[in-house]
C-alpha cells in the first residue's frame, strides 16, 4: 500500500524541469518568493526537451538585427494568430536573457574575441550555439544556488482547485509509488509539449502531462491545430537526434527518392533552412507524390563542419557514430529522414503576465499556447522568467487556501488505480494504438475531415475501452500508464481542434484549401465540459496589434504552388490529386 507525502507552505510550485521551469523558479526566488519548489518526474536539468535541444538559440542582437522584422517573422510563422505583444516581449528580452544565462554558467560558442558567435541555422537570422546538455546542467545548478527546493521522480497528475482557484497539485513518486500532495499559493506549469513518443530521442518524456492536468482542472487550451512548427524531422531508421537546425545550417540537403533536391522547388530562397511549416508542406506533398523515402545528405560536409557539429551536438553525433553513419569526421552515407509525429500543443491560454484562465495558475514554455510562446529555448527562458516573477507577485498577496480533502481523496484513488488493478491492459498497448492513429502523415500533417474523423473514432475507442483497464506492474509502469492516458486525451484534443479549423493555415487541408482571413483569424479554444470537452472560437485581437492580415480569403499559397507544379488541382473548393 503506497504511503503519502505532503509538501505544504509552498509559495510558488513549479511543475517541470526544463529551461522554462528552471527560469520560472529562479525568477520567483529573485522576486522574493520564500519557498519555491520545483518538481519533475525525472531530474531537473536532465528532463524534457531542453536538455536535448538542437544546440541553437534564436537570440535577437539589438545592434545587428531589425526588431520589427523579427517580430513580423515570428507573427507570420503563426499565420497571424500570434499574440503580437508577447512576440515583441520575447524578442526584446532574448538578448538580456542570453547574457544572463552566460552569467549563470552557460557556455555559448564564442568567437576568438569572446563575442557570441552567430552561425546559419533555420530561418532568416543567424543563430547562436551552445554545448548540448551543458546549458541545462548550468541552469539547474543556478536554481539550486538560488535556494529552489527540488523534488525529483515525482509525476504530477492533477491540479487541485478550491472555489475555482488553483491551490495545489497531486502526483506520485515513480519509484516508491507514494501519493504526493502539494499545497501552494501559486503554481507555474512548465511541462513542455508532446510528440506522441514518436521518432527520435530527447522528447519521449514530453507526454502532455501539463495540458492534461490543466484540462481536467478546467483551464482554457488553444493552439493545437495551428502550431508554428507542425512537426520536426528526424532520422527514420535510427534513434538519432535532435539537431536538424544545425545539420541544415552546416549545409545538409534533402533529397527525395529520385535524388531531387526538392526544397529548391518549394522554397527557393531558404531551401532546407526554411521554417518547420514550410518543411512540413514540402515533405507531405513529396510523400503524396510517392517520392519517399527522403534523405538528408551530409556526406559532402567538410571535417571542420563535422567537428563543429560534434562540439554543439555531442549526443546526436555519438548516436550517428554508434551505427556507423559518422566515422571520424565524415558522414558515410545519406540518412533517411522523416517527420517525427505531429507536434501536439493544446497549450494553456495566457495573458502577457503568463497567467492562465485559472486564478493562481501560471504557465511557461511550450506548455503555453503556441500563440504565446514560439518554439525554442529563447522563448522558453523569457516566458519562464516572466511567469516566475508574476507568480511570486501573486503569491505575495494570496492567502494559502485550505485543500478540498474530498477532492484529494478522489484523486488519490484515480492516480493509483492502475497500480492496484493486478492485471489488465499494458500501457504500451494504449501508446501504440494512439501512435498508429495519429502518426501517419495524412492524418494531422496533411488533413482531411474524413481521415481525422476516423482517427478520432479510434482514439475514442482507446479512451473508452483500454484506459479503464490500464494496469501498472509497479510505480514505474504507473508513470507509463499515466503518460499513455494523457497522450490519449492530447490526441483527442488535437484531432477535435484540427477538425474545427475549416481552412488551410499552418497545416494544409485538402477539403478547405483556402487561407481564410475573413472568418478564421480566430483561436480554437477547448475546455472541459462535465465529462466531455467543448470547443469554441475567440477572435484574435489583431485590431489592437501592429500587424494586421489583409481580410481576404485566398487559396493557400502552398496549394497555389502545388497547382503550378502540377501536383494537384483545386476544384469546387477541394484538392484533387494529379
Amino acid at each position: 500500500m503506497p504511503g503519502e507525502q505532503r509538501y505544504e507552505d509552498i509559495d510558488v510550485l513549479v511543475i517541470g524541469g526544463g529551461l522554462a521551469g528552471v527560469y520560472a523558479a529562479i525568477k520567483a526566488r529573485e522576486a522574493g518568493a520564500d519557498k519555491v519548489v520545483q518538481v519533475d518526474k525525472g531530474k531537473v536539468g536532465k528532463t524534457g526537451a531542453s536538455c536535448f535541444a538542437a544546440g541553437v538559440m534564436h537570440t535577437y542582437f539589438p545592434e545587428e538585427d531589425d526588431l520589427e522584422d523579427r517580430v513580423r517573422r515570428l507573427t507570420r510563422a503563426q499565420g497571424f494568430l500570434a499574440q503580437q505583444d508577447l512576440m515583441q516581449d520575447h524578442m526584446e528580452q532574448s538578448w538580456d536573457i542570453t547574457q544572463e544565462m552566460a552569467q549563470f554558467g552557460v557556455d555559448f560558442v564564442r568567437t576568438a574575441e569572446g563575442k557570441l558567435e552567430r552561425r546559419a541555422g533555420r530561418g532568416s537570422y543567424p543563430i547562436i550555439s551552445f554545448h548540448g546538455p551543458q546549458l541545462m546542467a548550468a541552469m539547474a545548478r543556478a536554481a539550486i544556488r538560488k535556494g529552489v527546493k527540488m523534488i525529483y521522480r515525482t509525476m504530477v497528475t492533477d491540479i487541485l482547485t478550491q472555489g475555482g482557484q488553483v491551490v495545489g497539485a497531486v502526483g506520485f513518486n515513480t519509484r516508491s509509488g507514494d501519493f504526493c500532495v502539494f499545497k501552494t499559493k501559486t503554481t507555474v506549469l512548465a511541462t513542455g509539449n508532446a510528440w506522441y513518443k514518436g521518432l527520435g530521442p530527447g522528447h519521449r518524456d514530453c507526454t502532455g502531462d501539463g495540458y492534461a492536468a490543466a484540462f481536467r482542472a478546467g483551464a482554457k487550451l488553444s493552439g493545437a491545430e495551428n502550431p508554428d512548427g507542425p512537426t520536426n524531422f528526424f532520422p527514420a531508421r535510427y534513434d538519432i537526434g535532435p539537431g536538424m537546425n544545425k545539420f541544415v545550417g552546416e549545409g545538409g540537403i534533402f533529397l527525395n527518392s529520385k535524388s531531387e533536391r526538392f526544397m529548391e522547388k518549394y522554397n527557393p530562397t531558404l531551401k532546407e533552412r526554411a521554417g518547420l511549416r514550410n518543411l512540413n508542406y514540402a515533405f507531405t506533398l513529396e510523400a503524396k507524390q510517392g517520392n519517399t523515402p527522403i534523405f538528408m545528405d551530409m556526406t559532402h560536409l567538410k571535417p571542420d563542419a563535422v567537428r563543429r557539429l560534434k562540439e554543439v551536438l555531442p549526443l546526436a553525433m555519438r548516436m550517428f557514430e554508434s551505427v556507423g553513419l559518422v566515422v571520424g569526421e565524415r558522414f558515410t552515407q545519406p540518412v533517411e529522414w522523416m517527420p517525427i509525429a505531429p507536434l501536439a500543443r493544446p497549450g494553456l491560454m495566457v495573458d502577457r503576465r503568463f497567467e492562465t484562465s485559472l486564478p493562481g495558475l501560471f504557465c511557461a514554455g511550450e506548455a503555453a499556447s503556441p500563440t504565446a510562446v514560439p518554439i525554442g529555448l529563447a522563448s522558453a527562458a523569457t516566458s519562464g522568467a516572466t511567469a516566475g516573477k508574476s507568480a511570486a507577485e501573486y503569491a505575495r498577496s494570496a492567502a494559502a487556501a485550505p485543500l478540498d480533502e474530498e477532492q484529494v481523496k478522489r484523486l488519490r484513488q484515480e492516480t493509483l488505480q492502475a497500480l492496484n488493478r493486478g492485471s489488465g491492459v499494458e500501457p504500451d498497448q494504449v501508446l501504440l494504438s494512439v501512435q498508429e492513429t495519429v502518426v501517419p502523415y495524412d492524418v494531422l500533417l496533411l488533413r482531411r475531415a474524413d481521415r481525422m474523423q476516423r482517427a478520432l473514432d479510434a482514439i475514442e475507442d482507446a479512451r473508452d475501452n483500454l484506459l479503464p483497464l490500464l494496469n501498472a506492474y509497479d510505480p514505474h509502469y504507473l508513470r507509463m500508464a499515466h503518460e499513455a492516458r494523457n497522450l490519449t486525451l492530447i490526441a483527442e484534443l488535437h484531432l477535435r481542434m484540427s477538425l474545427a479549423r475549416a481552412e488551410s493555415r499552418s497545416v494544409l487541408r485538402e477539403d478547405f484549401p483556402c487561407e481564410d482571413n475573413q472568418d478564421w483569424v480566430k483561436w480554437v479554444v477547448a475546455q472541459r465540459d462535465g465529462g466531455g470537452m467543448k470547443l469554441s472560437t475567440e477572435d484574435v485581437p489583431v485590431d489592437g496589434y501592429p500587424l494586421k492580415p489583409e481580410r481576404t480569403k485566398n487559396l493557400h499559397h502552398m496549394w497555389q504552388l502545388a497547382e503550378k507544379l502540377g501536383i494537384c488541382r483545386v476544384e469546387k473548393g477541394a484538392v484533387k490529386w494529379a
Partner: protein, 72 residues
Amino acid sequence: MGIRHIDVRLCNGCNICVEDCPLDVLRLDEATKKAYIAYLRDCQSCFLCQSECPQDAIRCVAVHERRMPKAW
C-alpha cells in the same frame, strides 16, 4: 531503446546514470552496488548515461527497441 550494456567490471556504483536517466530506466543493485537496466524498453536512446558515465562503462546503440509507428 538504445542502452544495451553496463559493464559491471567498470561500474563503480556512483549512481549518476540512475539519477539522471530521463525515462528512469536504470537502478542500482543494493547488494552489488552496480547499475543495471531495469526497463530496457522505455529507454529513449538519448545517450545521456553513456556520455555522463565517469567510468565509460555504458554502451548505447541508436536503434529502435520496439515497433515505432512512422509517418509513412
